[in-house]
Structure formats: structure tokens, C-alpha cells
């Protein structure tokens, strides 16, 4: 079966004002099948959000692609104009659910008008009958089991945090995109609202509004429930990729292990386990990094780790970027 | 602090602004003492080797007039700027920090004097001042009518600092209000207040030239300003008779100072608020 999303050795960099290149994403490769949910986890600043832009083919200066390729249903997103990407890819093939829906909606526009803008931007007939657009909107929002009329006719400030986030999800998935990237869709929400949002995402998956999703979060336990596969990202690289069960319950890379150790767990048999912290900070990406990127903070680092570049290799049926992992 | 300065020096706007500003400051400070004025010549003599910028309607050397005018305009600008910044910062800090009814009252005053045009106040007082209006009087008047702008922006900043942890901590540790204001709030706002001060100096120079232009400028021996020079030239029909040297040098000098100050302000804003860069 052909892959719906194929990422090959994707490397991205930012160009600073003084001509310095900062490689925020290095050699990221993965593939996704129709119906797959991939979780990507990592600390803030690890390159998750940059990767999102790359996966949408959206390169707005100072972000530039260095090398590699992204294919959606076999169609490459590289070397295309922003206008081409905007009209043919965004919202239709790849769409994005951003974090912090509080600020993601234009404060001076009603929900229905923002949604109508999305439809107008991607419809063939430019004029687009307004009533027709709203009719379609109403149908779609009715699926969510919300008070459709009130929400559509509200300004963002008149809605609760949960309603706003659900409106964002509704708007992002309006055109049945092939791949949805959810960037921390539940952080900054309280626990009850988090559940409502997750439930809505699964509703949409069930109703086949979309089927393939990349779920980005820093909450590993959440991924265990949501994702089929999980990739752990550190300093712009994938350090471990495997199934959700493998990565969460049996991590092999020292960083994944540390990350799991840093999580507080509600699990009863882990009551006496103290959460550990990861000392230090990720390396600066402004300079060329020699050797393993995690070596400085790795509890089991060996002297040679600092000089030797690590590559992804198979360890216990999953990919790990560590020569000494077992 | 040092790093900020290093970043500033990389900004072409800052470099151009400082060079322009230092030039005008030095010319204004020392020019009138160093330049030996030419004896009076004929009315509106065109620029020549003797009179580099020509003469005015009384045959006075324009270079000497301009240097003196620049000095006086800078004096008014700085004096007005210092008054407006001091009064505005104190009121803004106090209101923003205190909050509650004190803030409400101070804020009402600030808003009141923002909507009542300072130009009107300047005209009304200047027009009825009994004897000679001195440069200092004009500067004080400008300063006392423009402080609300400073107060308004400082208040907003101070209010946003009020809730910060280190302020609450200081308060728990028994610091007095004055201590908190001067030790914990003012240092955070220093760069901001300085930028506002720069804008106040610019607006002081502009206000002086405007009030002089309608014939309500400083009167008296040696109190000519850039605005007075322009007003005299206009009243003696220098424009319509084609005596460009009566207008252009003074016009360029005013624009230069204000432009330099705006450049400084904008480049600093860029460094203090990185979003504006790129």
C-alpha cells in the first residue's frame, strides 16, 4: 500500500539576520499510512513546531528547507511557491490544529466568517454563494454536537476555551484534509476540556472527516492512548521511533528513558518511584554539533559519544539513535 | 546593558541618528561661542563667501542666527522634555503602582489633559502673558502641557509590573511604596522612560517652532529660536520673494534634529522589542 505521507531526510534551517544558519530540524524521515496516528513528543524547543511548518511545505522566511523531501500522496511539497502551497495543499491535503486556540482565532471576526474565509480561499468558484457556504458550515458544525448557531454567530471572546478549541478543530478539518497535524491541541486546557477535545478528535476520525493524524505533544502518557506510533524528538532529530506500547512502556534510548522518568505517573505500582530530572539543556543548534546531541546530558554517556555521530538503528524492533542502546 | 549597546551599534538607524544628533548638539552648544558673527550687511544678501548663508531682513548673518536659534530650540526642547518626563513619570508610576482610587483620579486627570489640546493652552497663555515671554517660560509651558503623554504610557507599564512576583516579594519583606517604586519598578522602566523622553524632546522642539510660527514665540534679546527665524522670514515675505536662505537652513535644521531623535527612538524600540526587528 502506498504511503499517504512520506518524509525523507528532511533538514530545515532558520537564517538569522547576520547570515547564520540554525538547523532546527535534522534528517527527519518517516512514513505514514492511511488511518495511522503518529505521536511526536519532545521538550519545548526541540524542533516540533518547525517540523510542522516543513510538513505543510510552508516556508516563510527566515525558515528555509535545507534538504530532503516531503511527499503527500506521492506529491512533493518542496520547491513550490507559497501561493501554490496555499491554494493546493493547505487545509485540503495537510491541515493544522494549532495550540492555544485562545489566540488562534481572529478576535474581530465571527467564527462563521473565519470558516467562510477558509472555504472561499479553496473553492473553485470565486464568488461562492454566502448562504450556501453557511449552510455547509452549519451541517459540519452540527456534527460536533455543539450549539451550532450560537457558536457560528459568536466572536471568539464570547466563547469558552473549550468551545474555541473545538471551533478551531472544526475550521481546520472543514475541507476533509488527508493529513491533520495537531500541535499540542490540549495543552493550556483544563482536564475536563482536554477530554472533550480528545473525544471530538476521535469523533471526527470515526466519522471519516479525516483519518491520518500527527499528534504533537510533550505529554507522553497522553500519546500512549491516542497514537499508534510514537517518535521522540531531541534537538531537531528523531531519537527513537516505535509503536506506542514500545516507546512508552519499554523505552530504549537514554533520552526517552529520562523523559519517561521525568513524567509524574498516577500509576499505583509506581507510587514510590521518584520522578527524575534531566540535568542541563539541549545543545545550541547555531553551531555544528559533533557527536551525539544528547551526550552532554546522558546518564550513560561514554567518552566516545561526544565525537561519534549516532545513527538510527534497529533495537528491539524499533529505531533508536544510540549505538549503545539495548 | 553592554550587550544592548552592542546591538544598538549594529543598527544603521541608531548610528545615523546618533551622529546627526551629536552634530546638532555640538553645534548648538559650542557654535554660538566659536563662530564669529559677520558685521551687519544689506537686507537679504544672498549667500556668499562673507555670509555663508546670507543675511536676514535686518542684514544679520544667518549662520550666527541659526547657531543661536539651534541652541535656544534645543534648550526649550530639553527643558520641556525634562519637565514633561519628570512630571509624567511620577504621576504615571504612582498611579500605575498604587492602583485603586488614587490611580482612578490621576488617570482621569491624565485623560482630561490629553484630550484638551496642548496647542490651545499654549496659545491662550502665551497670547496674554504680560511682558516678554522668555525661552524658559515657553519651555515650562510646553513641559506642563505635554506630561500626560508620558504619564499615560508609564502608567500602563507600571501597572503591568505591579503584579510581578519580585514586587510582591518586596512588599512582603516590608519595603515601603517609595522604595518599591524607585528600587523595583523604575529600573525596569528606565529604558522605556528614556525613549519617551526622547520623543518629548522632539515634540518640545516642534511645539516651540509652532508657537513661534504664530508669533507667540520667545521675545527678547538673544532669544531667537529656529521657529522665530522661520516666522521672521515668513513675515518678511522671504518665501514669496524667493529668498530661500531665509527658510531652508532653519527648516532643514529643525527636521534634522527631530529626524535624529525619531531615528534614535525607533532603533531603540527595535532593540528593546525584538519583534520589530528582522
Amino acid at each position: 500500500m502506498s504511503h499517504i505521507l512520506e518524509v525523507k531526510d528532511l533538514t530545515l534551517h532558520y537564517l538569522t539576520r547576520f547570515g547564520q544558519k540554525i538547523h532546527a530540524v535534522t534528517d527527519v524521515s518517516f512514513t505514514m499510512k492511511q488511518g495511522e496516528i503518529l505521536g511526536i513528543a519532545g521538550e519545548s524547543g526541540c524542533g516540533k513546531s518547525t517540523l510542522v511548518n516543513g510538513l505543510m511545505g510552508l516556508f516563510i522566511p527566515p525558515l528555509y528547507p535545507t534538504s530532503g523531501d516531503v511527499l503527500v500522496s506521492g506529491e512533493s511539497l518542496m520547491n513550490r511557491t507559497t501561493k501554490d502551497i496555499r491554494t493546493n495543499i493547505l487545509s485540503q491535503k495537510v491541515s493544522m490544529i494549532p495550540q492555544g486556540a485562545f489566540n488562534a482565532l481572529n478576535p474581530t471576526r465571527k467564527i462563521k466568517d473565519i470558516a467562510a474565509d477558509v472555504m472561499a480561499a479553496h473553492s473553485e468558484n470565486k464568488s461562492g454563494n454566502k448562504r450556501e457556504i453557511y449552510e455547509r458550515l452549519r451541517e459540519r458544525f452540527d456534527l460536533f454536537g455543539m450549539e451550532t448557531d450560537r457558536i457560528l454567530n459568536s466572536y471568539p471572546i464570547q466563547l469558552t476555551a473549550g468551545e474555541r478549541q473545538r471551533s478551531v478543530i472544526g475550521i481546520s478539518t472543514l475541507l476533509n484534509p488527508k493529513v491533520v497535524i495537531a500541535d499540542e491541541p490540549t495543552s493550556a486546557l483544563d482536564v475536563t476540556t482536554q477530554k472533550v477535545v480528545i473525544k471530538m478528535i476521535f469523533d471526527l476520525l470515526e466519522k471519516n472527516i479525516f483519518s491520518t493524524m500527527i499528534f504533537i505533544t510533550h505529554e507522553l502518557p497522553l500519546l500512549r492512548h491516542v497514537a499508534h506510533n510514537i517518535a521522540i524528538m531531541y534537538a531537531g532529530e528523531f531519537v527513537e521511533c516505535g509503536t506506542a506500547v514500545q516507546v512508552v512502556h519499554d523505552p530504549r534510548h537514554p533520552y526517552t528513558k529520562a523523559l519517561m522518568g521525568a513524567m509524574l505517573s498516577a500509576d499505583a505500582n509506581q507510587k514510590n518511584k521518584k520522578p527524575t530530572t534531566i540535568e542541563g539543556a539541549p545543545p545550541s543548534l547555531a553551531k555544528k554539533i559533533e557527536g551525539c546531541r544528547f551526550a552532554e546530558r546522558c546518564p550513560s554517556a561514554r567518552p566516545e559519544c561526544r565525537n561519534k555521530n549516532q545513527n538510527l538503528r534497529m533495537v528491539g524492533e524499533r529505531l533508536v539513535r544510540c549505538d549503545y542502546a539495548e | 546593558m553592554f550587550k544592548l549597546l552592542k546591538n544598538l551599534i549594529k543598527e544603521p538607524m541608531f548610528v545615523i541618528g546618533s551622529v546627526l544628533f551629536l552634530t546638532t548638539i555640538l553645534a548648538g552648544l559650542f557654535g554660538p561661542f566659536l563662530y564669529v558673527s559677520m558685521p551687519e550687511g544689506a537686507t537679504y544678501e544672498a549667500p556668499s563667501a562673507t555670509y555663508l548663508l546670507g543675511t536676514d531682513n535686518l542684514g544679520q548673518d544667518y549662520v550666527a542666527l541659526l547657531l543661536k536659534g539651534l541652541q535656544n530650540s534645543l534648550y526649550v526642547g530639553f527643558m520641556a522634555g525634562i519637565i514633561a518626563t519628570t512630571v509624567g513619570t511620577l504621576i504615571g508610576l504612582f498611579g500605575g503602582f498604587k492602583g485603586g482610587i488614587v490611580d482612578d483620579i490621576l488617570n482621569m486627570f491624565t485623560n482630561l489633559f490629553i484630550v484638551i489640546p496642548s496647542f490651545v493652552v499654549l496659545v491662550l497663555v502665551s497670547a496674554s502673558w504680560p511682558e516678554g515671554r522668555s525661552l524658559t517660560l515657553i519651555a515650562v509651558l510646553i513641559g506642563l502641557t505635554t506630561w500626560p503623554w508620558t504619564a499615560r504610557s508609564v502608567r500602563a507599564q507600571a501597572a503591568s509590573l505591579r503584579g510581578r512576583d519580585h514586587i510582591s516579594l518586596a512588599r512582603i519583606n516590608g519595603a515601603t511604596n517609595l522604595e518599591i517604586i524607585f528600587k523595583h519598578i523604575l529600573p525596569y522602566l528606565a529604558s522605556y522612560v528614556f525613549m519617551v523622553f526622547i520623543m518629548q524632546v522632539a515634540s518640545g522642539i516642534l511645539s516651540e517652532s509652532a508657537i513661534s510660527m504664530i508669533g507667540l514665540g520667545p521675545i527678547g534679546e538673544g532669544s531667537t529660536s529656529l521657529g522665530v527665524i522661520l516666522n521672521t522670514a515668513k513675515n518678511n515675505s522671504a518665501i514669496t520673494d524667493g529668498y530661500w536662505w531665509g527658510i531652508f537652513p532653519a527648516a532643514i535644521v529643525i527636521t534634522m534634529i527631530v529626524f535624529a531623535l525619531y531615528l534614535l527612538n525607533n532603533s531603540m524600540e527595535g532593540v528593546f522589542n525584538p519583534r520589530l526587528r528582522k
Binding site: M56, I60, I85, R86, T87, I89, S91, Q92, M96, P98, G100, N103, A104, L105, N106, P107, T108, D117, V118, A121, H122, Y155, Q158, I171 | M13, L112, V115, I116, P117, F119, V120, V121, V123, L124, V125, S128, W129, P130, A202, S209, A210, M213, G215, L216, L230, K234, I239, T240, G242, W244, F248, A251, I254, T255, V258, F259, Y262, N266, R275, L276
Partner: protein
């Protein structure tokens, strides 16, 4: 009150606030000219009179005009010899007589005045004028003034005995016709340019930004002078002064209207361009700020049309710019009035300049009052507009009401 209608409540609140501000402005308008000294004293000192009687009469009329005296119901001065006002005035008399040390005129042996053209002397003669009228208290003067203003009576010009309201009525249309479009279009043009500079950045921004900054550093009247010099004098393309050709009689003839349009161009552009520069600077930094917000990023991620993103940007950055316009409109109007003087445009600015040159206080006060009033009105309008245009403000209004 009006809890159900937060917007109406807000409008009323603002209206009351601006009315109180207007009263303060009125008081300032009344007291400030009296701060330094009595305006009547200044005027009297600058005039000369043929006889002491006329002088006294004029002084009395002026004091009555200024509301400095207590009047009875028939508007005539309340006479009171006990509480009379004594005014000490200095009269300069230039004499070509020879004066001795005591200030007395030297007489020759025949009792004739010794005349010497070389010994012209200025004698400062102190003259005491007594007006047997009761001085009004400052407070009653103010109340009197406010009452008059609310009746539309702004006093009478000293110079030509015209009603101040009449002088203003003549000048106001010119000022409105010049300033309203210049400020409005300047605001729109400047903001459009600023938003584009913020959105496009790059070369466009690198050219527009310094240029706009330079433009905003030039005072209105200085730019007016430069325009007059080049376009009116050197190249002689546009008329340098006036609002219409003086050879034409005002009326609805085509020639006259064309002449007005022809005379309009220079003053319009001297306000329009400078104002646009300042607005572009403000809009640019607002725009850059808005560009970094999440909703703009999200709009781009959704693949909205560029023009639509620009509309989002412009609309939201415009709201604070609108408040900015209201707050700085006083300064703008002041600057623009001076521009009228450069062009001898027959508007309020020119009326005020003439009044200032001739110490015509009622006219000065009338014009300043009008400026303040229009600035307050502009602010009020913008406050209401913002409440209507910005759902965030609207929402906070209904929150306040709860």
C-alpha cells in the same frame, strides 16, 4: 441603569465624561488668558486715545465686554462710587520739551515752554483712571462666560465690532474643507502604506520606513513653506497664497470652483503627506506586532488568501491606530492651522493669527474654544466607534454591566 443595554450605557457614560471635560476646557479657556494679567490692561497699553474721556469709555466697555464688571438685569453697569475700580495706567508721552530733574517742563523767562528738538524725552506719566463700577468676582465671571457660550455668544471682536461667532462661521467652512479630507485621507493612506510595509518587509519596507520617518519629522508648516517655495514661486505651477483667485467674485461659477480646487492642492498636500508619514510609522509597528500573533499564523496555516490575511492585519491594527488618531488630533489640528497661515488660507488658523497679531482676545478665545470642542467631539466619536468595531471592547462592556 441601562444594564440591559451596555452599549447605550457606555455611550452615556462617555457623553457625560466629555461634557465634564468640556466644562473644564471652558474654564481653562476663560482663566488662562487672565493668568498673566488682565487682557484689558494689555489692550489698553497698546492703544492710544485722543482724550482721557474716550480712554475711560473704552476701558469701561472692554471690562463690560469681558464680563469683568457686575451688570444689572438691563445689562448696564452697576455703579458704585464706594467700591470703584482704580486703574493705574502708564502713558508714554513723547515730548520735545526740555525737562528738569523733577520731571517738570522748563519754562523760559516769559513763561513759554522751552522747546528743544534734540532733547526729545519720553515721559512715563502715571495716570489713574477711576471707574465707579463694581468688579465682578472671578467665579461669577466664569459662570457668566459659560452662560454666554451656551447661548452661542462668543463675544464681539475688538477690531471690527463683528460678532466672534460670525467671524468663526465665515472661517470654519474653509478649515473643515481643508483639514477633514487631509486628515482622513492622510490617515487612510498612511495606514495602508504602514500595513503594507509591515506585511511585505524587504525592499519596500526599507524604502518606505525611513521616508515615512523623515516625513513625520517635518512640521506641517515647514513642509508648506517648502511646497510654496518650489511649486508657488520657483516653478510657479500652483498659486502660493489664498483659497481662490482674488480677481474672481465668490459664487457658484465654474471659474470660481476651479480656482478653489487649484488653490487647494498645495495646502492639502502639505498636511496630507506629513500626516500620512506619521501614521505609516505607527501602523507599521502595530502591523508587525499583529503579524506575530497566533491568529495571523493560523490564518496563514489555513491557506487563506494573502489579501484576506492583509485585511485581518489591517483591521485589527487599525483599532489602536484609531485611538491614536483621536488622541493626537489636537496636535494635528494645531499644526494644520499653522499651515493655513503659510498659505493665507481664510480659515480658522488665519482668523486666529490675525487675532493674535491685534490682541483681539474674544476672537482668540473663540477659536481656541472651537478647536477644543471639535477635538473633544472627535474623541467621543472614536470612543463610540471603537466600542462598535471591536468585539473585545463590546464584550468587556457587557461584563462591566454585570
Amino acid at each position: 441603569m441601562f444594564k440591559k443595554y451596555p452599549t447605550v450605557r457606555y455611550v452615556l457614560q462617555r457623553a457625560i465624561w466629555y461634557f465634564l471635560t468640556f466644562l473644564v476646557a471652558l474654564s481653562l479657556n476663560f482663566f488662562l488668558p487672565r493668568l498673566g494679567s488682565d487682557p484689558v490692561d494689555i489692550m489698553m497699553a497698546q492703544s492710544s486715545f485722543s482724550s482721557p474721556e474716550i480712554r475711560k469709555q473704552t476701558e469701561e466697555n472692554l471690562r463690560k465686554e469681558f464680563g469683568l464688571l457686575v451688570l444689572d438685569k438691563q445689562d448696564s453697569i452697576v455703579r458704585d462710587t464706594v467700591r470703584s475700580i482704580v486703574i493705574d495706567t502708564v502713558v508714554n508721552v513723547v515730548a520735545d520739551t526740555v525737562i528738569d530733574e523733577q520731571g517738570n517742563v522748563t519754562l523760559d523767562s516769559l513763561g513759554n515752554v522751552v522747546v528743544s528738538e534734540r532733547n526729545e524725552t519720553v515721559i512715563n506719566k502715571h495716570e489713574k483712571i477711576e471707574i465707579n463700577a463694581v468688579k465682578a468676582s472671578k467665579f461669577s465671571q466664569l459662570i457668566n462666560y459659560i452662560g454666554q457660550v451656551f447661548q452661542g455668544d462668543l463675544g464681539t471682536s475688538f477690531k471690527n465690532q463683528k460678532k466672534v461667532s460670525e467671524i468663526i462661521a465665515q472661517a470654519l467652512p474653509w478649515t473643515i474643507a481643508l483639514q477633514l479630507p487631509a486628515i482622513l485621507f492622510g490617515w487612510i493612506f498612511g495606514n495602508g502604506l504602514g500595513a503594507l510595509a509591515a506585511y511585505r518587509r524587504g525592499v519596500f519596507d526599507k524604502v518606505i520606513f525611513p521616508l515615512a520617518l523623515l516625513m513625520s519629522s517635518i512640521p506641517f508648516f515647514v513642509f508648506g513653506m517648502v511646497l510654496v517655495y518650489f511649486f508657488g514661486v520657483v516653478w510657479d505651477i500652483f498659486p502660493a497664497v489664498g483659497a481662490y483667485s482674488l480677481e474672481l467674485t465668490p459664487g457658484f461659477s465654474l471659474d470660481f470652483i476651479l480656482s478653489i480646487g487649484y488653490h487647494y492642492i498645495l495646502p492639502f498636500f502639505s498636511i496630507f503627506l506629513i500626516l500620512a508619514g506619521g501614521q505609516a510609522i505607527g501602523m507599521r509597528s502595530m502591523g508587525i506586532y499583529e503579524l506575530g500573533t497566533d491568529y495571523i499564523k493560523y490564518a496563514k496555516w489555513l491557506g487563506l488568501k494573502e489579501s484576506r490575511v492583509l485585511v485581518y492585519l489591517f483591521r485589527n491594527a487599525m483599532l489602536p491606530q484609531l485611538t491614536g488618531l483621536a488622541l493626537s488630533i489636537g496636535q494635528m489640528v494645531g499644526g494644520a492651522l499653522i499651515t493655513e497661515m503659510i498659505f493665507s488660507y481664510p480659515g480658522l488658523g488665519m482668523a486666529m493669527l490675525t487675532a493674535i497679531q491685534t490682541n483681539d482676545y474674544p476672537v482668540i478665545q473663540g477659536v481656541t474654544l472651537l478647536i477644543t470642542t471639535s477635538v473633544l467631539l472627535a474623541n467621543f466619536t472614536v470612543d463610540i466607534l471603537i466600542a462598535l468595531l471591536d468585539p473585545r471592547v463590546k464584550q468587556s462592556l457587557s461584563m462591566d454591566a454585570k
